[in-house]
């Protein structure tokens, strides 16, 4: 029974790397460096930290590749390593305290008429400045998420892993993934909307 879950390209590159091909290693890096770098940046907020995360991930991945049986996709395996690298970095630096986001905190107050101002993305070149501002607003909002919610949000919404994949990578339950994702999204909606409301609704 074929248990290999990596795609054909990754499988070929892994096989070549195991035989000593530096080109295969470089191709694997090229396939995943941008995603891993951006993941590290969204998790940690600083270029240096993103570089550390990416480097640690690849170092650990290539060290462990001899024993990698390809029962999961290479991408999933790399991001599992990256997620744990982020958690280790956080434990060392303690740069963001843990806090809970209770669901009740997002419920509108009784009688309140709540409207969320979420800007429309447009391909209009004249709105380049607005898109640039929006990117900063989103980046700041994601960065300010408490770590456990940020991790799930980044894996699910930004990297496109499924609920099952995310649960497996982080060693948490499916329900925990769903709960954390929902609260992360509510938090981000509020954060982004508050910026544009405070800004006089320029969006």
């Amino acid at each position: 029974m074929n248990l290999i879950k990596t795609d054909d390209t990754d499988h070929r590159l892994i096989t070549q790397f195991k035989k000593g091909s530096v080109e295969a290693m470089e191709k694997i890096v090229k396939r995943y460096e941008e995603s891993l770098f951006n993941f590290g940046l969204r998790m940690c907020g600083q270029m240096q930290d993103a570089e550390d995360i990416m480097q640690d991930t690849f170092l650990n991945a290539f060290k462990g590749l001899e024993n990698f049986r390809e029962e999961t996709k290479l991408r999933n395996w790399l991001f599992r390593i990256a997620a744990h690298a982020c958690l280790r970095k956080r434990r060392k630096k303690k740069f963001q305290p843990d806090r809970e986001l209770p669901l009740d905190s997002f419920l509108p107050r009784e009688g309140a008429d709540v409207k969320f101002e979420i800007p429309d993305l447009s391909s209009d070149p004249a709105k380049e400045l607005l898109r640039s501002e929006l990117k900063q607003v989103i980046d700041d909002a994601v960065r300010s998420l408490p770590p456990k919610y940020k991790l799930v949000f980044n894996l699910r919404d930004m990297e496109g892993f499924s609920t099952e994949e995310t649960a497996e990578m982080l060693g948490i339950s499916l329900q925990s993934v769903k709960t954390r994702l929902h609260r992360a999204r509510l938090y981000l909606r509020e954060s982004i909307s508050n910026h544009y409301k405070d800004d006089g609704g320029h969006a």
């Binding site: 000593g20 091909s21 530096v22 290693m25 470089e26 890096v29 460096e33 941008e34 995603s35 770098f37 951006n38 940046l41 270029m47 570089e51 990416m54 480097q55 690849f58 170092l59 290539f62 669901l103 997002f106 419920l107 509108p108 009784e110 709540v114 409207k115 969320f116 979420i118 800007p119 429309d120 993305l121 929006l134 990117k135 989103i138 980046d139 994601v142 919404d157 930004m158 609920t163 769903k178 994702l181 929902h182 999204r185 509510l186 981000l188 909606r189 982004i192 909307s193």
Partner: protein, 84 residues
């Protein structure tokens, strides 16, 4: 927020992600037809998810790319150039 709205509030993400069973999904769908506040809630959450997902990625600075490759080549030099 009405009691019924609160009941569905915690499930909106699962609804948007298609992770609810058919019966729950239909209940929410019917509720949305009748409740403009919840429709706004769902629409604004969907918009939030979309704009986040569509943000452009940062390019890796060339210096960082070069450092990474060199670090990896050095770390695995024995593998690529085995001593005879």
């Amino acid at each position: 927020m009405h009691k019924e709205c609160k009941k569905y509030f915690g499930k909106i993400s699962q609804y948007l992600d298609g992770e609810l069973d058919a019966q729950s999904c239909e209940k929410i769908r019917q509720h949305l037809l009748a409740c403009p506040e919840c429709r706004h809630c769902v629409d604004s959450l969907r918009k939030t998810i979309d704009i986040c997902r569509n943000m452009p990625k940062e390019k890796i600075p060339e210096e960082i790319r070069k450092n990474l490759l060199q670090t990896l080549r050095d770390a695995f030099s024995d593998k690529f150039n085995p001593k005879s």
